[in-house]
Amino acid sequence: MNRSELLDKFRAMATEIAEKDFSHVSEDAVIADLGIDSLGMLELIGTMERDLGVAIPDDQLVGIQTVRQLLDVVHRRLPAA
């Protein structure tokens, strides 16, 4: 999966979980600005883990603020295509 597909995936999941339209959210967006709190983030991560078949341990999530930083972590852990 390439980066732009991953971003699309994130947008769809965030839209479902936060029940707000995130279909145009950019990688530069600060997650706190999107109105997603720590519980929402956790659910988002859980959804990504299941959908993408990756494991994302908690210690990788420390200090993440932007969508880009989050997708970096996820992207690194994706199985090589």
């Binding site: 029940e19 600060v30 997650i31 859980g46 999530l61």
Partner: protein, 559 residues
Amino acid sequence: MQALESARTLVEALERVAERSGRGFRFVGVDGVERFYTYAEMWRIAQERAAHLLAAGLRRGDRLALVIGENDQFVLSFLGATVAGIVPVPVFPRGAFKALDGYLDVLAHVCRAARARAMLVTESSRSFAERVLERDCGLERILRCETLFAGPAPSAPRVPVEPEDLCFLQFTSGSTSRPKGVQVRHRNLVANARAFLGPHGLDRRDDDVGVSWLPLHHDMGLIGFVLGTLVCDIPVVLLPTESFGRRPRLWLETIHRHRGTITYAPNFAYDLVTRRLKPADVASLDLSCLRVAGCGAEPIRARTLQAFADALRPAGFDGDRALLPSYGMAEATLAITFHRLGTPMRVDRVDAAALRAGRAVPAGPDAQAVELVGCGVPFPDHELRIVDEAGRTLPERVVGEIVTRGPSVTSGYFENEEATRESWREGWLHTGDLGYVADGELFVCGRIKDLIIVRGANYHPQDIEWAVSDLEGVRRGNVVAFSTMVDGFESLVVAAEAASSDAPELRRRIAQLVQERFGLVPSHVAIVPVGTLPKTSSGKAQRRRTRMLFEERALAEHP
């Protein structure tokens, strides 16, 4: 049950349940792997851990901070400390998205307030928790489960543990400004467990199975599903809170799979899981086993519970019998009132304007109304009153402060006389919550204290105000944090004084800071002109005035 009923302490109860073969606790790991411990194993391991802790130099009455994320390690270590007469002090392990600095502040503060001699960690919490030593925390040392409990246990004499002894300290919130450790004694725990699991509470049955994902550093998870259930012999299945966070449906799937009969959660969790359910999920669930779905720890919303019941009726869930709103707080060990088991919940529709004036008047069909949920009646040997500011008992349907007394009510905060005197007056615990009684049943409708409760967690506005106040561009000391209701849910608003040119940037930075530090997202950040927040005569910003202005849309904000 007779032998169990004579247990006077948690230790005596554990020793006695150990004789009930085949029963025990099931711990689900974050990886989904389950580990089952019989009561007998739990008793044996607790004795071994007690011996190791004593051999490490800890003594009866010493406080031991527990920063342990794995539920099985937490429970076994907690019980081990208790068997040795050591007083555990549970502290929440750091959340994934929270900044380390703020966490270490709270941790150091709790250790100091508890005068803890040592801290017990596991490998996963050690890396961050040990950095607390860089601060003024008063700890002599940090102990690790993996090394301390390895190897054969040394022999140790049985430590006497009496009903009057402290069982543990329950810190009521992660506040840096005023950490307060509630002193839960064995007799309080035993009295409360028998009250809420006995005939006037959940009416414990031999085939009961509790299912919970609630955090174990918090009273509802710890007492409701670990200590209380041990005292009364109810096997439980414990899920990690994080697993629930990552996949809310796991909660219901676990109840289905293990034929859970009792579960509990704050209002937000019922709302969250209902919104996540798809018809296919409901079709695959059989929740006819669930006889108690309790709700507490934050304001309860009738519509949330009704929506949950409606969504799960096809799965065999009977909301009219199972939904159980309740009221309680750590200062009273856990439970204060329970709705009557097996009866439909009671919703009181009262006039909104009259309620603001302190009267709970049933609303006419056209009036603006507030729906409140009945939280039931106090347990036998416990009393509850609604009082005015002078402490006089108020009649039915008049709003006042909820006060209570009885064997479950604790004796106050650990080494904090000032805070204890504030809340324990003339033999009654003053809860700081506002409520009224109608037809004998308690309805909770607000708070006297400025506490902010979001998703079951308590936040002190002062902590948020101080953190925001430190940001560059914010006029120091001129920040107000308060909660307001958005669509029936409590949510955070932060108002700060600053120059208009900084407003857009500050809104972003404040939201970001609050999220990092507290894991909370403000529903609104108001940047207001310098000098416009309402102040007291001593210059302190006023929360309630600010909230009123905000709710009336009269707060002048920079664009």
